[in-house]
């Protein structure tokens, strides 16, 4: 579980980069670029797992790295790209609830909250790096959620969801080796993605905003007005 001393530094740098990418994802409007950013983020995760692999040479980590590379860096982005092409949407312009700047501020706040909360665990910790890695990856999850709820396009939402998943992946990479289950998680992810993408391909030719308009009568009778 414990990587040698030099490696945490690399990992920390990678982690910070991943978080930075998440921040970018929060702010960027162009969907293609968004997808690209996600691809890079996933790639960094592959790098993280490789960095973790380096000291112990556990093959399971290598497997995780390769599966991640395959699905998250190659397959999923291309599926999304396909869907995007079908939907003919280029940009996701509007922001809800939070402006990009406040999103970033909230993310920082969330990070501190998570950090403080996890610091309660410090006495139990075998590995003090957990505090920083763990809270960074959990805040990545929260950032993913921010992406989902500030954006309107389903595709952005999916990327948000995938960001959350990246957070989980990171968390599990740092915490423990659960090769089987992590791999299954990634595969499940893939299945989910396929379902979502086919959903998009089948039914949705509009964004949620238009859908809200369609739903106006319904939401009125529910008493909701936004």
């Amino acid at each position: 579980m414990m990587p040698p001393l030099a490696l945490p530094e690399i990992n920390k740098i990678l982690l910070v980069l991943i978080l930075f990418l998440a921040v970018l994802i929060i702010t960027v409007k162009d969907l293609l670029f968004l997808n690209f950013l996600y691809r890079i983020q996933s790639f960094f995760i592959v790098l993280v797992s490789l960095a973790l692999y380096a000291p112990d040479r556990k093959t399971s980590l290598l497997a995780v790295a390769s599966i991640t590379l395959l699905s998250k860096v190659i397959i999923i982005p291309s599926i999304i790209k396909n869907a995007q092409n079908k939907l003919k949407i280029k940009r996701d312009v509007e922001f809800h609830y939070l402006t990009p700047i406040s999103s970033i501020l909230v993310s920082i706040a969330v990070f501190f909250a998570v950090y403080l909360s996890f610091s309660r665990l410090i006495t139990e910790l075998p590995d003090k790096t957990f505090l920083i890695t763990g809270s960074l990856s959990v805040s990545l999850m929260f950032m993913g959620m921010i992406i989902i709820f500030t954006r309107q396009q389903t595709i952005t939402n999916i990327i948000g969801f995938l960001t959350i998943e990246n957070g989980v992946l990171l968390f599990s990479l740092f915490m423990a080796e659960l090769p089987l289950i992590v791999e299954v998680l990634i595969l499940l992810d893939l299945v989910m993605l396929i379902v979502l993408a086919s959903l998009l391909a089948f039914g949705i030719d509009s964004n949620i905003e238009e859908f809200h308009k369609k739903l106006q009568p319904l939401s009125k009778f529910l008493g909701g007005q936004k």
Binding site: L121, E165, G203
Partner: protein
């Protein structure tokens, strides 16, 4: 056993792929459900529990699993019985593409399998996987209808449930990492966790329970993670709604019970208890208030099942022997009542092609059996005698009253509000009579009627008498969980 189950499942799916007529497909699915029902009943009487399968004990069966499996398979059986006529009508009205009927049944069988296997899993991670699979398959069952709303309902379901489930995953990893640290070898096996729970550091237990709770709570419709429930339930075909509310939510609760039982062995048990109770009350309150102005019949039932989940959560949180015993009976009774209501609402949906209560006219005259079903269902779900929910509800309330009077009052108030909403719904539903309206009567197929009748009978029988064997099983569960 595992192999047999897989074999049965796979062969059922293969048969479905090769068979042509809808009737025989339905029959195969029925048999599949019947297999699990038979299995659970057989284990109930014959098996010495728990039994482990596979070398590393990844799969097992114990009383809680058997009990949940029995409920789930009965609901599956009745829903599939009901499904044939329902699908026919869906296809007739072009709400379902005939091409998808097969896919529908395949997903149904896969859902059944994943539910059953989630009960068989002796491992949190495996359980997590099967739980995730239930999300995917049930989402497909929702999305399969030709309506945009269904897609959005499924999207909400997928997004909310999976997001929360990812938190569960974090919890799992946390637990695994620290059991590895403490036990020497990491484990997520229920049986090992239970037997050496005292070795888990309390704080870690609390944190992982919290993370796990978010995900399982979302599957179990616990506020504020419940929001997918009304949408998914109202848009799904009624038989699927019945399964969603009576089975899928229960799988979530099952996970919570298991994890809670582990955490309770540590000194963080109290925190977990309080968490469950607080969330239970929050759910109860939100759900009962949401019911009041609900005009969509199926949403109303969905909120009611959320409300019941709140009560169940409170009772689990109280964690006394009696509360857990009665909450198990409660789970069974509410599952039956909810599915009865959904199946009857399905008939209303076929009759008026809408779930809106304003479109209902002359229901008693058009659908006498479904009317009886709704009457019984509403009575049963409101916890009124002589139906199954009365006693467990009362006894759960007793446990609450022992805990605190204030909580009792809050619980009673929310129960009143939800009963009131049902009364509103009930009177509106039946009192909308229009002699002049010329609604064409929907001829309910006999099989649909049969499943409703069976549910009514079950609810009535369990209302006046609790079979010894069921009580024994529930008692065993309490012992197994070391409550």
């Amino acid at each position: 056993m595992m192999l047999l189950s897989i074999l049965v499942g796979v062969s059922a799916i293969l048969l479905i792929i090769f068979l042509r007529s809808n009737k025989s497909i339905n029959l195969v699915s029925l048999l599949h459900a019947l297999y699990y029902a038979g299995l659970s009943i057989y284990q109930m009487y014959a098996g010495s529990l728990p039994q482990y399968y596979l070398e590393n004990k990844y799969f097992f069966i114990d009383s809680l699993g058997i009990y949940e499996l029995l409920i789930a398979s009965v609901i599956f059986f009745l829903s599939i019985l009901y499904l044939e006529g329902y699908i026919k009508s869906l296809v007739e009205h072009e709400e379902l593409n005939p091409k998808f009927v097969k896919l529908f049944y395949i997903c149904m069988n896969l859902l059944l399998m994943s539910v059953a296997f989630s009960f068989f899993s002796n491992n949190l991670a495996l359980f997590w996987i099967f739980l995730e699979l239930t999300t995917i398959f049930s989402a497909i069952l929702i999305v399969i209808l030709n309506a945009v709303e269904n897609i959005y309902a499924a999207l909400k379901y997928l997004f909310i449930a999976s997001t929360c489930m990812l938190f569960s995953f974090v919890g799992l990893i946390l637990l695994y990492a620290f059991t590895k640290h403490n036990f020497g070898a990491g484990t997520l096996n229920w049986s090992e966790l239970m037997s050496s729970a005292s070795l888990i550091t309390p704080r870690i237990a609390a944190y992982s329970f919290m993370f796990i709770f978010i995900g399982f709570g979302a599957k179990a419709a616990i506020a504020p993670f419940h929001t997918w429930v009304p949408h998914a339930h109202s848009k799904a075909p009624s038989a699927v709604s019945a399964i969603l509310s009576a089975v899928i939510l229960n799988v979530g609760i099952y996970g919570i019970i298991r994890t809670f039982a582990v955490v309770r062995q540590t000194s963080s048990g109290q925190i977990a208890s309080n968490m469950l109770i607080i969330f239970g009350f929050f759910t109860l309150g939100i759900a009962s208030l949401s019911m009041l102005q609900q005009k969509n019949v199926k949403k109303l039932i969905a909120f009611s099942s959320i409300e019941h989940m709140g009560t169940i959560l409170i009772a689990i949180g109280l964690a006394t022997k009696a509360s857990v015993f009665w909450v198990l009976i409660y789970i069974m009774a509410s599952a039956l009542a909810k599915s009865l209501l959904f199946l009857c609402a399905g008939i209303a949906n076929r009759q008026y092609m809408s779930n809106d209560i304003d479109s209902v006219r002359n229901f008693i005259k058009l659908q006498p059996l479904a009317s009886v079903g709704i009457i019984v269902g509403v009575l049963a779900i409101s916890g009124l005698p002589p139906f199954a929910l009365f006693m467990p509800k009362l006894l759960v309330l007793i446990q609450i009253s022992k805990f605190s009077v204030l909580m009792l009052i809050i619980a009673l108030l929310s129960i009143l509000i939800s009963t009131g909403s049902f009364a509103l719904f009930f009177t509106k539903f039946f009192s909308s009579v229009d002699e002049a309206s010329s609604i064409h009567k929907y001829n309910t197929p006999a099989k649909m009627k049969a499943s409703i009748i069976i549910l009514i009978i079950l609810l009535a029988l369990l209302g006046i008498f609790l079979p010894d064997r069921l009580a024994d099983i529930a008692g065993n569960i309490v012992a197994e969980l070391k409550i």
